[in-house]
């Protein structure tokens, strides 16, 4: 198990009292696995990523039974120890790649900063040259052939796809064990998105890198995804292998998201009304008690005001009192 999160609760103080933005989140990622976390905007999926990376400020209250990375408890480490682990073994790329690059430095200079000292050998007189060679090597790895032009460019000269490739290049400079990709392609056009996904899949296959992909939409996930976790409004709804989850969702939320995905939409007659969840997602100030999907769920019954436990069945898990597509073979 590369990453093991059990009952992670993240709370924030608001004028009306403390609110559990994330509630008892479970997430497990194995070595060399592509895991996709799917949730709509504001569901707390980026918050999980930021909690793993340790980006959260002290105004967030983090509690967890486990937040383990490679058997190390991240919550009990000092900031420095944690940085030594996370800084080398975990990397993260973001949605708006351009805004994460320094506009004042050329791409070459920025990538040189990402090169680790232990990759360089020999005396100090060699290092400059070696750094530059390593940068060129990184650029080639992410599929940029014209490295000399790229090294001289500034971020504003790049297209979105190219900027994301630079982010990936600097992320893989450390040879991380886990890459967290927070909606890396959601603003890209389909052809560029495919390119970026292909690139990520390549690193996964060649170097056994695990990827935690965060996505808004079931339609936009990588086709190599092995496991899916669905999150709604800070609660994990369901997780399991991609194939099983999409074929027979246990949770009404998974079913609803599947129904509204573009893939399903393409199967429906043109100009027909689409099935969707009623209402809007709850705001942080007015979270429903119990299962947070309750007020929007087509199958909700009175019992749903109690938070359902996260039930595990074989390698699937779900949090629902009345799961769908469940054969009673116990």
């Amino acid at each position: 198990m590369l990453l093991d999160i059990r009952n992670l609760t993240i709370a924030k103080d608001t004028p009306t009292g403390r609110v559990n933005v994330l509630e008892r989140v479970n997430l497990q990622i194995n070595e060399a696995e592509i895991h996709t976390l799917v949730g709509e905007s504001g569901s707390g999926k980026s918050l999980i990523a930021r909690a793993i990376m340790g980006f959260l400020s002290s105004s967030w209250h983090i509690q967890a039974d486990r937040l383990w990375f490679e058997e190390q408890d991240l919550l009990n480490l000092s900031a420095k120890q944690r940085r030594e682990i996370i800084g080398v073994d975990v990397a993260m790329i973001f949605q708006d790649a351009k805004s994460y690059l320094d506009p004042n430095l050329t791409i070459g200079e920025q990538l040189q900063e990402a090169v680790l000292d232990q990759d360089l050998s020999g005396g100090f007189w060699n290092r400059r040259k070696q750094r530059k060679e390593r940068v060129i090597q990184l650029l080639h790895r992410v599929g940029i052939k014209d490295h000399s032009a790229m090294i001289e460019s500034y971020p504003h000269e790049l297209s979105e796809g190219a900027a994301q490739k630079i982010m990936i290049a600097s992320a893989i400079a450390h040879r991380p064990k886990l890459l967290i990709a927070d909606e890396p392609t959601s603003t890209m056009e389909p052809a560029t998105r495919q390119q970026i996904y292909r690139l990520l899949a390549q690193f996964h296959a060649r170097h056994g890198m695990s990827i935690l992909l965060i996505s808004q939409d079931l339609g936009a996930i990588m086709k190599e995804t092995e496991r899916l976790t669905m999150i709604y409004s800070g609660q994990i709804m369901e997780s399991g292998s991609t194939r099983e989850l999409l074929d027979a969702p246990h949770h009404p939320y998974t079913e609803a998201l599947l129904n509204t995905s573009l893939y399903q939409q393409a199967q429906r007659p043109p100009r027909s009304r689409l099935p969707t969840l009623a209402g809007t997602e709850p705001s942080m100030q007015h979270l429903p008690i119990g299962c947070r999907l309750g007020p929007r769920c087509a199958y909700a019954r009175p019992k749903c005001v109690q938070t359902p436990d996260f039930t595990k069945k074989r390698d699937r898990g779900f949090a629902c009192h009345y799961p769908l597509h469940l054969e009673d073979d116990a």
């Binding site: 709509e40 939409d217 609803a256 893939y263 939409q265 429906r268 100009r271 099935p275």
Partner: protein
Amino acid sequence: MKPLLDVRDLTKTYVQRSGLFKRKKIEALKPTSFTVEAGKTLAIMGANGSGKSTLAGLISGAIQPSQGQIILNGQVLHADNYRQRAQHIRMVFQDAEASLNPHLTIGDQLEEPLRFNTGLNQKQRRERTIHTLQQVGLLAEHMVFYPHMMSTGQKQRVSIARAIILNPQLLVADEALATLDSSVRAQIINLLLDLQSDLKMSYIFISQSPEIVRHLADDVMILKEGDILEHGHVDDIFNDPQHRYTQSLLLSELNSA
């Protein structure tokens, strides 16, 4: 039947200085002609930089054309006559967050187009605002809300309400669904379909998603580098695309997977 919108040889060129005396002409949109009939939807597809948004800007009057005419209901639209245009052609933008004014309540924002373009008094404006909010599935209470109090889907509903409040004949939606969550996107698609059948509006719909275009549009126009590559009925173009470029645009990620 006479078309609602008739666009003739619409062109936009930008001039860029590329030296002390040298000037380079960039053709953002080459001469383009097409028509849209009442109650129909025209979808415009193309990669980034193909002139889609330029065309939307030209039709809605945000960009001045270099050449060409836009004729709405037999009337030539003049580039600087915003009053004439604002009544009949309205626009919905991609980013609802950025297109709403954070300092005004939803009620005030919806009232503005009525104040500028109609002779309604305060009471009538209020009634019209409430009616429009209900049309897009919001409540009268939302009038006192500020944009930050609403979710993204609700904000997109408000920007649609702002667009339809003057009972326009044509709605231009520039990637209006691209950033929405899938459940909200389905809600907005349903809303657009309902509004079209109720109000007989025409849509010009700019999108990169073949699934959405197939679902909503009657006609499709494929743009490449400011040029119309293909233009025809949805079924014809989707079933038998003539150009490789069109094929690559229509290639959905899901089908290729």
